[in-house]
């Protein structure tokens, strides 16, 4: 069934038991992103010390795809240097915009590879990228403020 291809168990697990959820202190910058077609929103904070992502915390309401991808994001970037986190982000964006033609690298994206099936549904790509756009924006703000 196509549905299972899209909603991999990993995605449903992250949706039901999200990692890193909740807004926390300390943080350097915060970003609020909204998907205007469905009203989904996320508020995401980053705490960066010596160019390393110390914490990502977030809150929001949204579909399983947007919530799960933000949960995966925290797994992927927390504890990583900003440059490496951005490389992972680029890989995830490339996967999501690949219309299902991009082969994901599990070493880079870990649980993120579960979103390969989502990439076949153009209407859901925005959902998967909502948290990542917030992360990118928040890091840029934190660097701007530094």
């Amino acid at each position: 069934m196509q549905l299972q291809q899209m909603y991999q168990e990993i995605i449903l697990d992250h949706y039901k038991n999200p990692h890193g959820r909740g807004l926390r202190d300390p943080y350097d910058a915060e970003s609020f992103q909204v998907n205007p077609t469905c009203g989904d929103e996320v508020t995401l904070r980053v705490h960066v010390v010596d160019d390393v992502v110390q914490d990502v915390s977030y809150d929001g309401q949204g579909c399983s795809i947007s919530q799960a991808s933000t949960s995966v994001l925290t797994d992927l970037v927390v504890g990583k240097p900003v440059g490496e986190a951005f490389k992972k982000m680029d890989a995830f964006v490339e996967l999501m915009q690949g219309r299902g033609q991009v082969e994901p690298d599990e070493d880079v994206l870990e649980d993120g590879i579960a979103f390969a099936g989502v990439a076949k549904y153009p209407a859901r790509v925005k959902c998967a990228l909502l948290g990542w756009m917030a992360f990118k924006d928040a890091v840029a703000r934190s660097q701007g403020a530094a």
């Binding site: 069934m1 196509q2 549905l3 899209m6 909603y7 449903l12 077609t37 469905c38 009203g39 989904d40 309401q61 949204g62 579909c63 399983s64 795809i65 549904y121 859901r124 959902c127």
Partner: protein, 425 residues
């Protein structure tokens, strides 16, 4: 609205809509429950567009040749038939790109009134003047008014919603006051299907000399509408929601008002006399149709109102009412499903929005799509309405003349399937 007319022969009607016999998502029968967003077109409309393009295509209102004459006749003939369909006179209908443009046309033209001639004085918005809308508006009949208020210093006010999703009209006179210049409201909510009491709002507006602007996008396609009888000043609706083409909308304006209204978009075709120092403008409707207009779309919309007239708007309304009653009952009986807006089908068109506890609307829509069922998810361009009714977003099923009770059953089964898939059943 009640009718004693014979019920629709939906099986026969469906044969007119080629798209309804296609399959989606690996061979699933298409169950199209998204006509509130865009409706499907019958062969009669598609053929009319094609015949126009194959036989009569030319620029309208210009050219000295036979094709230009035929194209102009087809374009203006469509205007006449659409006018008859909505209870308006020929010169009272302006073709627009879509309904949204119609609302912007009125809002911008009013914004231009201060710098136009004395005939436009009644449209001038001064600081402190009031524009009244409602919390159930589609963004198309809300944002243009926010913008013109911002530009002119007018104040935006609104009717609130009751918890049941209907307008709170308990104190009309405190919202519509002698300072009110415009009352803009929807005939039928695109989210909940609620049909508003037009006569109450028109009477209150007329008492203070305010102009009424009706969003008729969801009413004109689904039941009998007569703008003269309703007494509204302006109304806007779109072609693609009434079996017609996209790329065409219609603005109705009471003749006396259209004649005094300054233009919005300017350029070719809308002028009377052009000199380097300045220009004068054509009478309506040409004054509001600048540039080369859409042509096959107008012809297609003319064919759509012919089709709807033959079927009968009373019968279409009754048919959709039966589907709405069935959907409310079927969805309402599922534990964990919350119907948004009114729980009954009184004064309501064929739109049923709902939420499923534990399943985000976008995910519910995905499960339904995998079963071949097309619905709308999100806030349906009515974000304030969703906020009022405590919904972040919703799943919306909308019905039209070609939908069946079997399709309502498929929707209800599909919702149960979504609950099962996300483990909340």
């Amino acid at each position: 609205m009640t009718t004693t007319a014979a019920p629709l022969d939906v099986t026969a009607l469906r044969a007119d809509f080629p798209i309804l016999s296609r399959t989606v998502r690996d061979g699933k029968r298409l169950v199209y429950l998204d006509s509130g967003a865009t409706s499907q077109r019958p062969t009669q409309v598609l053929d009319a567009e094609k015949a126009f393009l194959e036989q009569h295509n030319a620029a309208v209102h210009r050219g000295a040749h036979q094709l230009a004459e035929e194209a102009t006749d087809a374009y203006e003939g469509a205007r006449q038939r659409i006018a008859d369909f909505v209870g308006a006179d020929f010169g009272e209908l302006v073709f627009t790109k879509n309904a949204t443009e119609g609302f912007n046309l009125v809002a911008y033209a009013m914004g231009n009134a201060a710098t136009s001639g004395p005939e436009a004085a009644r449209f001038v918005l001064n600081p402190g003047d009031e524009i009244v809308v409602t919390e159930m508006e589609h963004h198309a009949n809300l944002v243009p008014w926010q913008q013109v208020a911002q530009r002119t210093g007018a104040v935006l006010k609104w009717f609130k919603l009751n918890p049941d999703g209907r307008l709170d009209l308990s104190d009309v006179d405190s919202v519509i006051t002698p300072r009110t210049k415009v009352v803009a409201f929807t005939h039928q909510s695109n989210v909940t299907g609620v049909i508003n009491p037009v006569s109450v709002l028109v009477a209150a507006a007329q008492k203070v000399g305010a102009i009424t602007v009706l969003d008729a996008c969801q009413s004109v396609p689904h039941g009998p509408v007569d703008f003269h009888a309703l007494g509204v000043d302006f109304a806007s609706f779109s072609g693609h929601k009434m079996l017609g083409p996209s790329g065409i909308g219609v603005l109705y304006g009471r003749r006396e008002l259209l004649e005094a209204l300054p233009p919005f978009i300017t350029g070719g075709s809308m002028i009377e006399l052009v000199k380097m120092e300045g220009s004068t403008f054509a009478p309506p409707p040409q004054r509001f149709e600048a540039g080369s207009p859409m042509t096959s779309q107008a012809v297609g919309l003319g064919a759509a109102v012919d089709y709807l007239s033959v079927v009968g708007m009373e019968r279409i309304h009754a048919h959709e009412h039966a589907l709405t009653v069935a959907a409310l009952e079927g969805l309402g009986s599922i534990p964990g499903v919350r119907l948004i807006g009114p729980q009954d089908a009184v004064d309501r068109g064929g739109a049923v929005p709902f939420e499923i506890e534990g399943v985000h609307p976008h995910d519910a829509g995905q499960v339904l799509d995998s079963l071949g069922i097309a619905v709308r998810v999100g806030h349906h361009c009515a974000w304030p309405l969703h906020r009022c009714l405590n919904a972040q977003s919703s799943v919306r099923a909308t019905f039209y003349l070609y939908n069946t009770l079997d399709e309502v059953d498929a929707l209800v089964d599909g919702v149960r399937e979504a609950q099962k898939f996300f483990g909340v059943a």
